[in-house]
Each structure stands twice: as C-alpha cells, then as structure tokens.
Symmetry: C2
Subunit: 248 residues, 2 copies
DNA sequence: TGACGTCTGTGCGCTACCACACATATAGGG
DNA sequence: CCCTATATGTGTGGTAGCGCACAGACGTCA
C-alpha cells in the first residue's frame, strides 16, 4: 500500500486513539513510527527516568505502577490498545514518577518522544484525542483509588481481571500471585485467599500461573461498580464503531 | 488601569496558571472573566451534571470529591490558586463524575465553559499550561491513592493539613471532624483519634471546629513523603518567582 | 533421580480500622 | 434563660488484612 515503513496497519489502525484520527494525519504519523513487540515484563520507563519514546499499543497491555518507599507497589493505570503509554510527554513533562511495564505481551507502535511532542504542538486531531484520553485515564485513576480505599480484595481482584480481559481480548492470562499482589497493593496471601473465593464460586480457574475467566458476568457481580464506571468512560470517549466506519 | 472588567488583578494575577501567561493573552482572557467569591461549602459542580463554568481560584481552596455508592466520599483532588476547577472542559468532556466543593472560602475568576473551551482550541499558552497542570493533578491523584492505600490515618491527616495550608496560605482553618472524614475516606471517630494524636504531640491545636497548625515541620515528619512528592510536582511545574519577575 | 528454586496453600497472632452506641460539650435561636 | 441542633470525645466488640512462619507442589537442571 501507501505505507512506507509499515505494512499491516493499512487502513484501520488497531490502536483506538490512532483510529480516530483523520486518515491523512494518521498516515503522516505512521512515517515516524515503528512497530515493536511488547515483551512480557519489559520496562518502558522507570520512575524518575526520562521518557524517550511513547507507545501506542495495538495489542497487549501495559501497567503503570506507583512505587512507595518500602518497595510495595500499586497499579495506578492500565493501558491497552485504547490508549497510549507516555502521556507525560504530551503534558510537557519529560519524566514520570511511575513505572510502565508490559503486563501482557503484544505489540505497539513506537515513536520518539521528541517527534511526538512536536506533533502535539500544532493543533491537529491528535492533541484533541489525547486530551480526551487524559480525561478517561484520570477517571480510571480516581475510580481505582476509590475502589482500593473502600472495597474488599475479592471485588478489586474481580475488577482488575475484567479490566485486563477487556484490554487483552482474551479470557486467559499468565500471572503469578506475587504479580497480582503488586497490582492490587496487597499481600500475596491476600491474593491467594481472594482467588480461592472466586474459584470456589466457579468464576475463574487459577492454577500455577494460568488464570482463566470462566464466568464474566459472575465476576461483574462480585466486582464493585467501579468497573462499570471505568468501562463507561472508555466507551463514551471512543466511539469506535462510528470512526471505523468512516475510515473504511 | 487597562482592565475593563476587573480592577484589582492589574499586573500580577494571583492565580498561578494565569500568572504564567503572556500579558496579552492574559488580558484577553480577563475580558471574559468575572471575579466571584468562593463561599464556604458552595458546590461548583456535581457528579453527572454539566460543567457550565470554570474557575481560576485566586484565594481559597476547592476539593474534588469522588462519591461511592453508599454516600461515603473520598477526596481525589485539591485545587488552590495554583490550579483550575473544571479541567474536564479542557479535556473536551462536558461533565464530571466528581463533586467540586469550596472547602476554604476565597475568591476566583469565573469563565463560561463554552468560551473557555474555545480559548483552549487555538494553540496559545493557555492549553500548554493546562496540560502541565493536568500532569501535576494526575500526580496528585496517583500519590494520594498510594497514600490512602498504605499509610495510617495520622499520616494522611498530616499530609492533608499541609496541603491545605500551602494552598490557603494560612495556619488556621475551620473544619469539622465530619468534614475531614469525608476528605480522608475514614470514619469521623478515626479522625478524632488521629487529631488527638497530633494534638498530643503539640503539632496542632484543634478545638470545636478551628484547627491551628502549631508545628509545620513536625507535621511533615509525621506525614509520609507523599506530601513532599506532590509538593515537588507543583513547585517544579510553576516557576512562580521567575514568571512573576518578568511580569513586574 | 535428586536437589534446588520458585511458586502456592494455610495457619496464627496482631493491629488498624470499622460499626454501633452512648455521654458530653457548645452554639444559637426561641 | 432553657432547649435543641450539632459537634465532639470515648468505649466495646468485630473483622479485614498484615507479618511471619512453614509445608506442600511443581518445574528444571545437573
């Protein structure tokens, strides 16, 4: 096709932010992007470090973690193909206090932070979309904060699994209890117990690192409506169907 | 002076976002603004409701609260003269899930949301500043989330008091335990106990609704470094001194 | 096959915080 | 002045989740 660097992202970009851009703008951006694999546990940027590249996931999922003094962590953001990693660059900040780490393998379009920053300056559709995305991320973070404060571990685990499923498009993922404990900001033993509860209710199957969602609607019942709220925000923000149609 | 509508905000605007704008841009904005008092407990916008106006506080302080099903609330943002109320409008969203309520009386410059949205579209300094502010708010929310998850009530109370002091520029405020419990997302009795602890250590004086900070550095010692992190983010973002100098 | 490292399950005491229930202080209006 | 609203102080359980301490399960590599 007309793409100089990329072949497979011909017409409809898999990343939902890019998908909403006018064809022309999207194609211009593509020239500065390259597709890279998101390898499991790869660190995209570290707390305090410079953000050199930004990423638009096309599949897979990236966690934004906040670290607290005594090496405990808490997930403050979850980015899939609906979003972008490196939002601080958009906000004119070159560094982040968070850790961005690949939590589910996939691939992404990568772009140099400097070029990206330049693209954001002239008022095209991209900065507009990014502002809207910022809002939904903000909502996600706020709601997660509320959830972590008020709801029991079971509910939070259920919420987290549903959010991950939405972004991964799969009912099965690899993850250890240790890992989940870092996401939810609880002890591993707490994860164990909560997972046991969900398993007893036949909602999930979890053995030795592979977790399968058996009953999504059942999970939604256990999960607080925090999940629903976060979900709504994303859906409202990105009218995917409509956009995809115009691009076809 | 040259201001048609406002008199006292002659040269150096008290709001720090406005203070960073080029004189010309600031003066144009002023024409669409009016100064209003921020009355204690006034609600600027409600969850789910439209945001009709945005506010740039010049003094006083506004809380952004997230409500959870069973009428418990949690503060997810604190806005003083360093910020702006109504950020969702900047992000192309007309409504918010939060409650914005005046927590310390003062005054603000008010602007119609529609006009404001228009001002943000063409790439002046305003949207640039707002993006930077968004980042610091994002950091504030994330860090508060971490704090609420991991730290005991005493520390969180100390952090909250320090943040409030910074924004109010005063060591004494009026607030009930009930109110604080809504901010910190804990029971009133918990606030009582934590306040008792701080009082015993001679860090604050709290009796019947008026709270006085006696020993700020002592409070900082009790508070987690979450306070320091949030503070740094604000300071880094808004080089007030430098800007004020150029405007003089 | 065994030895070792990494995950997983589980139990026990402890603490912070919650839920509820009062007793008291204070302000402000009749 | 009293009377009542509202704010404050305190006590008594209950419980979720923590810290610690192991015991089994499983993979892997020699």
């Amino acid at each position: 096709m007309q793409m100089p660097l990329l072949k497979n992202h011909s017409v409809v970009p898999a990343n939902r932010i890019l998908a909403t851009l006018p064809k022309k703008e999207y194609q211009r951006l593509l020239r500065s992007m390259e597709e890279i694999p998101l390898l499991f546990e790869k660190i995209l940027y570290k707390p305090g470090g410079l953000i050199l590249d930004v990423y638009f996931p096309t599949s897979g999922i990236v966690s934004l973690l906040a670290a607290v003094e005594d090496r405990a962590t808490l997930e403050v953001g979850l980015v899939g193909r609906e979003g972008m990693v490196g939002l601080p660059v958009f906000m004119e900040v070159k560094t982040s206090r968070n850790l961005a780490v690949v939590q589910g393998a996939g691939s992404a379009l990568r772009m140099k932070a400097k070029i990206f920053a330049k693209e954001c300056q002239d008022g095209g559709s991209l900065p507009r979309m990014l502002r809207r995305y910022s809002h939904s991320l903000l909502t996600q973070i706020s709601q997660t904060a509320v959830c972590n404060r008020f709801h029991p571990i079971d509910a939070r685990l259920a919420r987290w699994l549903l959010m991950t499923r939405d972004r991964m498009g799969s009912d099965e993922f690899q993850l250890t209890q240790e890992f989940l404990s870092n996401m939810l900001g609880v002890r591993r033993e707490g994860v164990n117990k909560a997972a046991g509860t969900l398993q007893q209710k036949q909602l999930i199957n979890y053995s030795r690192g592979t977790l399968t969602i058996l009953n999504g609607t059942g999970l939604e019942a256990i999960a607080c409506n925090c999940y629903g709220i976060i979900r709504e925000e994303y859906d409202a923000l990105l009218p995917e169907k409509a956009r995809v149609k115009t691009l076809h």
